[in-house]
């Protein structure tokens, strides 16, 4: 199928990830986007609405609103309504703390594909210590309950690390108790604020395997759909497969000040700016996008790996932060990890 074909490049972006603001009311210690303060020149309401019109003309199907915290934008309700009018498939990535009754009513009405809410612990002590705001656990859980009740498709997202990995059972129990549709898990990336804590809090390959194994086992008995972060891979038939990078193939990202970048983690690779450049032209002609699309540009281990036709070289952002080149080797590749770190994942069970 198209999404699994490494050579498939959509004629225009199928998905736009949209960092609608850099402002955030939390100070998560592992935030790869280093969100916090609103930038000086973020896209105005008019610019956002114009861009949505343009995206609609380009037949963009999915818009994923992220940040920062999207609900900090005063015009976010207007933006959501416009996205709904354009019939985009909408995803909202949020910390949930600002979702009140009014927002819940709007979200319920537009019925997004998902509202992804971050939850990094099974209790206030753990979650709040990551999120940098006392009380955030309580307001996040309250938002999840408020959204689940009218049937909104909520996804809980958890970043596992040394401080919450021992709560794996309790976090999972909470996920099931809250009645969400899906659960997305990932690990700390050495990107943004995550770089400063990576060495002390990142899980070892064996610890990551334990998390994966636990959740893969649950995936066989639960109605909650379990996903692994797309930078790490995907679960198919109870096995974790390497990531199939969407950046530049079916997805582009628009940053808060209009920069077009391949994915939110490749924020150094500016391909254009929607304020001055035509999005279609950027998609077709950007040197950066064309560079990461071309598998023959892969370097290091990925250049000679026999599985490159399955994964296309893995996560370009991880490769970029490890090697300085998005087409370098993905340091988190499960194939490579199985070779180097004694991980339980093997090439055989990845086939």
């Amino acid at each position: 199928m198209l999404l699994d074909d490494q050579l498939f490049v959509a004629k225009t972006p199928l998905i736009i990830k949209w960092e609608i603001t850099k402002a955030c009311n939390l100070e998560c210690v592992h935030c790869y986007a280093s969100s916090g303060t609103k930038l000086k020149d973020e896209l105005s309401t008019r610019e956002v609405l114009n861009l949505m019109e343009c995206m609609s003309q380009l037949d963009v199907l999915c818009v994923q609103f992220t940040g920062g915290e999207p609900f900090l934008r005063r015009d976010f309700a207007k933006i959501l309504r416009a996205a709904d009018d354009h019939m985009f498939c909408i995803d909202i990535l949020t910390n949930g703390t600002l979702i009140d009754k009014k927002s819940t009513d709007l979200i319920t009405r537009i019925y997004p594909h998902s509202v992804q809410i971050s939850l990094d612990g099974a209790n206030p002590t753990t979650h709040d210590s990551f999120r940098g705001l006392p009380g955030s656990f309580r307001s996040t859980v309250a938002a999840i309950e408020r959204l689940v009740e009218p049937g909104v498709k909520v996804s809980i997202s958890t970043t596992f690390n040394r401080l919450n990995v021992n709560e794996l059972d309790q976090i999972w129990q909470l996920v099931e108790d809250l009645g969400v549709k899906s659960f997305l898990f990932g690990f700390i990336y050495p990107i943004g604020r995550g770089a400063a804590i990576y060495n002390s809090l990142a899980l070892s390959p064996r610890e990551q395997d334990r998390v994966r194994d636990f959740l893969i086992a649950r995936s066989k008995t639960t109605e909650v759909k379990i996903y692994v972060d797309e930078a790490i891979g995907k679960i198919i038939d109870g096995k974790v497969k390497p990531p199939v990078c969407k950046a530049g193939r079916i997805m582009a990202t628009v940053a808060a000040e209009g920069q077009v970048i391949p994915c939110p983690m490749l924020f150094d690779l500016t391909c254009g700016n929607v304020r001055v450049d035509d999005l279609k032209e950027v998609w077709e002609k950007s040197k950066e996008l064309n560079y990461i699309r071309e598998l023959s540009n892969l370097k290091g281990r990925c250049a000679t790996c026999s599985y490159v036709s399955l994964c296309g070289g893995g996560c370009k952002a991880m490769a970029y932060f490890e090697t300085g080149d998005p087409m370098g080797s993905d340091p988190f590749c499960p194939y490579a990890k199985s070779d180097e770190n004694g991980s339980q994942l093997t090439v055989e069970n990845l086939k």
Binding site: M1, L14, L61, C62, M87, C89, I90, Y111, H113, S114
Partner: protein, 106 residues
């Protein structure tokens, strides 16, 4: 008149005369080798291969199910008719199940 297929069948309408049409709150994005379909009412996206895309594109409200079957049988003349019929019927049932097409009678 637009209705769902089960209602129509329960009224003993000849199934072959039903005319499928892509539902109003559905977006179809064509790609060279397939298509992506977004069904707004269930907020889900589906990926179609080129055959499924062709069948969906034939659901334009002017063709009956039988017209669509005959078109596909002609286009897949190296495949046994029964297989084409089954596949097309299964696809149409799937499209109806996800709310991607509606059926009407003229």
């Amino acid at each position: 008149m637009v209705s769902d297929i089960s209602t129509l069948l329960s009224r003993e309408v000849n199934q072959r005369s039903l005319r499928p049409i892509v539902a109003p709150r559905v977006r179809v994005r064509d790609e060279e080798d397939g298509a992506f379909v977004f069904v707004k009412d269930i907020a889900e996206i589906y990926e179609l291969n080129s055959t499924a895309k062709r069948v969906l594109r034939l659901c334009d409200g002017t063709r009956t199910i039988e017209d669509i079957l005959q078109t596909m049988i002609k286009e897949f003349d190296d495949t046994p008719q029964e297989i084409v019929r089954n596949d097309v019927n299964e696809l149409l049932e799937f499209f109806e199940k996800i709310g991607c097409v509606k059926f009407h009678v003229k």
